[in-house]
């Protein structure tokens, strides 16, 4: 039956021509192959986000007077609403985590090098957009923590010289965080960001398929020295089945987190109360937040916060352009990039932990 349907479609759409490259596609097989799975897991979690997000949309009502109540309704009254929302929240966090792991694995396996510079650039932009998803989605339940985190977050954006204030007003939909901000963030979260992300994912996947999987330089050197050690596996079905196993593991972890630690619904936001003491952003913004906190209020004649925001923006830009900063022929520049990569990983982990522990 399925075969007949496929033949019917193939007669008209020539599907065989489309599938042919996948049949011949191979994936290098070596001791570091498992790092390849993290990109796929991130994609899987993104798909979970889209699916659960659509289900949440059936009941969620954006608006300062309704948002919290609608999420409360989803959590308490809607059949399996608690599960959908918990999976959506946990999956968002896991997706950002796996995206970070994927990025650093690409970095340390040198997969950003020529000809994969554009794959790196689209990947870094995707990570930033995914963090944008996190930031915009965090406000949607309209609880106290989300309200003040958004207030602080948009205030930080407002520190950028000249364009900061207009950006802050654009993000907030006014001078303050209000119902207008919520409506705006909802729009970003369910329409603007998904549209851009889907296009970028398509480009990213196209580049991955077009350029194939990168082999780490050390493994490549070993294989060059000993060509008989070179191993490959077919993308389909061998790698795809392994990837499916990884997705099943991710699903199990996600289900366990959602069932054992259902995502908390705090207290409804009240713009007239003062911010809770020791308020912190979500963990993936913590290293930047802690960095900004540690910069003195005045450095020479420059405002500390402005310096911090400019510094973070510059670091982000350099990170995006990292493949172009490394000279293919200069071993010194390669050493520098490796050093920067190690420093960045230690810095992000260290500052995140410090941010958690700091009062």
């Amino acid at each position: 039956m399925i075969a007949a349907l496929y033949r019917w479609l193939d007669d008209r759409l020539h599907l065989d021509d489309l599938i042919a490259p996948f049949k011949h596609k191979t994936v290098p097989r070596h001791r570091l192959s498992y790092w390849y799975f993290f990109g796929g897991i991130t994609l899987f979690l993104f798909m979970i986000q889209v699916l659960t997000g659509i289900l949440l949309l059936l009941y969620y009502r954006p608006g300062a007077n309704e948002a919290f109540e609608s999420v409360q309704y989803i959590m308490t009254r809607v059949q399996f609403g608690w599960l959908i929302r918990s999976i959506h929240s946990w999956s968002a966090n896991l997706m950002i985590f796996t995206a970070f792991v994927h990025m650093f694995s690409v970095l340390f396996l040198k997969a950003y090098r020529k000809p994969r510079e554009l794959t790196w650039v689209t990947g870094v932009i995707l990570l930033l957009l995914v963090m944008g998803f996190g930031f915009s989605g965090y406000l949607l339940p309209w609880d106290t923590l989300a309200f003040f985190a958004t207030k602080v977050g948009t205030e930080i954006a407002g520190q950028i010289p000249i364009i900061g204030k207009p950006i802050m007003i654009f993000l907030r939909g006014g001078d303050e965080v209000t119902g207008a901000t919520l409506t705006r963030f909802f729009g970003f979260h369910v329409a603007v960001l998904p549209g851009i992300v889907v296009v970028l994912i398509a480009i990213h996947l196209f580049l991955v398929q077009r350029l194939g999987m990168s082999v780490p330089p050390k493994v490549e050197a070993e294989w060059t020295a000993n060509p008989s050690a070179r191993r490959e596996m077919k993308f389909f079905p061998n790698f795809a089945l392994r990837e499916m196993m990884a997705w099943y593991v991710a699903m199990g972890v996600l289900g366990a987190l959602a069932a054992i630690f259902p995502w908390n619904l705090g207290v409804k936001a009240d713009p007239f109360i003062s911010a809770p003491a020791g308020i912190k952003p979500e963990w993936y913004f913590l290293f930047m937040f802690q960095t900004l906190k540690m910069i003195p209020s005045k450095v020479w004649i420059i405002d500390g916060e402005v310096l911090g925001v400019l510094g973070c923006s510059l670091a982000g830009l350099l990170w995006l352009l990292l493949p172009f900063l490394e000279n293919e022929k200069s071993s010194r520049s390669k050493t520098w990039v490796t050093g920067i990569s190690i420093f960045a990983l230690v810095y992000v982990i260290g500052m995140t932990v410090y941010g958690f522990l700091a009062q």
């Binding site: 608690w82 392994r242 199990g252 289900g255 069932a259 259902p262």
Partner: protein, 420 residues
């Protein structure tokens, strides 16, 4: 070069002059107003009035001087002229004259309006009605006059936390005399009021929680017209804050009975100065119980008392059980915020029932207790249901994880077979 040095010298002198002016400003101000402080700042003991002290006085700040109360000629530096009777010098104001002197301004609405239109001007009239005023009129100069409470030469407005008549300081100010056993002995007044007040719920509210609306001595006794409220009028005083309790008590059987026996209303059960935070144990038969001081064991009222106490204790326990159940559900990540919200209503019912006790009617207390008990029972059920739901979720998770594990094993075996 010389010109530069001259300019520097000039600048240095100007800076010194400016600094000196700033430092000496209070004394210069006082000297400009009157010369009395010249001598009195050098005096010892009660005659000493320093410019620093006087500058803190609200009267000095409003432009009044020593002459305003003591008369004399403050513009003369000759003591004979400055303290000349011809110039109207009154010397030390006799204690008996103090209220009248203060009242010469403070009882003049037209004059007081020029400084503070919202300030009352009936203090002197009230003082005459007070026990202090009556005794002073009878020639007893030991009683309190204005300066004993408000201090003298550094009188601050009552809203100033350093003022002895600021609500936080009033009890201590009254206790300076009323805790002095030797001073109070001739009047036969007890001296334990401050000690008792210090352990009361009212003191706790005022001093520990910083609630300036909490009662202190003057709230119940009056300030300028200070007098005990009278045995039969105690409930009127308490009613100023405890309105519901007073209304209920006013309609109760106890009101009539207490009046007939000449008992002081609220004070009978709650005492006066040492009022503790009431607990349900007040209805008990233990050392803090009050009912059995008048009622006989086993009588109708004793049975009603026991029934009310049981109701309250049960409701309190039900609310705590529901609380614990909801806390457990919350700690398991379950969403029980709606039940948590209604817990406040159950607590309100308990509070209401404790207030309704002042009707001394078991049926009315029962109604409040039942309302609270219904909510508490529903919340207890909500907590239990949430825990049952949590267990269902975990069983569901276990089944899903097992299915996933089977899939993983199956896939792994399939891959192995494929690659062999």
């Amino acid at each position: 070069m010389a010109s530069l040095r001259n300019n520097s010298l000039l600048a240095a002198c100007s800076a010194l002059l400016l600094a000196g002016s700033i430092l000496l400003a209070p004394s210069l101000y006082a000297q400009a107003v009157n010369s009395c402080l010249d001598c009195h700042s050098a005096q010892d003991g009660p005659l000493q009035v320093t410019p620093e002290k006087f500058s803190q006085d609200i009267h000095a700040q409003k432009g009044l001087t020593c002459v305003s109360c003591h008369g004399g000629d403050a513009s003369s530096f000759d003591p004979d002229q400055a303290m000349s009777r011809k110039a109207g010098w009154k010397g030390k104001i006799d204690r008996r004259q103090v209220p009248q002197l203060c009242g010469s301004c403070h009882s003049n609405p037209a004059y007081m309006r020029t400084y503070n239109p919202s300030l009352r001007t009936d203090q002197l009239d009230q003082y005459h009605t007070s026990m202090h005023g009556k005794r002073l009129a009878a020639g007893d100069t030991k009683v309190a006059v204005c300066v004993d409470c408000h201090s003298v030469h550094d009188i601050r407005p009552a809203i100033d936390p350093r003022s002895p008549v600021n609500p936080v300081n009033v009890a201590k100010t009254c206790s300076r005399c009323h805790s002095d056993a030797a001073l109070m002995k001739p009047y036969g007044i007890p001296t334990d009021q401050f000690a008792n007040y210090s352990i009361s719920v009212h003191h706790d509210a005022m001093v520990v929680r910083g609630d300036l609306s909490a009662p202190t001595c003057t709230t119940c006794h009056g300030n300028h017209g200070a007098l005990p409220p009278g045995v039969d009028k105690v409930q009127n005083v308490c009613a100023n804050c405890h309105a519901f309790q007073a209304q209920m008590y006013g309609k109760s059987a106890h009101f009539k009975a207490f009046q007939e026996k000449g008992l002081p209303g609220c004070v009978v059960c709650h005492s006066n100065h040492a009022i503790h935070m009431p607990s349900d144990a007040v209805l008990g038969t233990g050392p803090t119980g009050v009912c059995m001081k008048c009622h006989a064991p086993g009588d109708h009222c004793d049975k009603a008392r026991a029934a009310i106490l049981t109701d309250l204790t049960q409701l309190d326990a039900s609310i705590k059980d529901a609380d614990q159940s909801l806390r457990l559900a919350e700690s398991s990540g379950m969403e029980v915020s709606e039940a948590r919200l209604t817990q406040d209503q159950a607590q309100d019912s308990l509070t209401k029932a404790r207030v309704t006790i002042h009707t001394f009617q078991t049926a009315l207390v029962d109604a409040d207790v039942k309302a609270g008990a219904t909510i508490a029972a529903a919340n207890l059920k909500a907590g239990h249901d949430a825990m049952v739901e949590r267990n269902h979720r975990r069983i569901g998770l276990g089944i899903c994880l097992l299915a996933i594990a089977f899939m993983l094993v199956g896939l792994w075996l399939y891959i192995k077979k494929l690659e062999s």
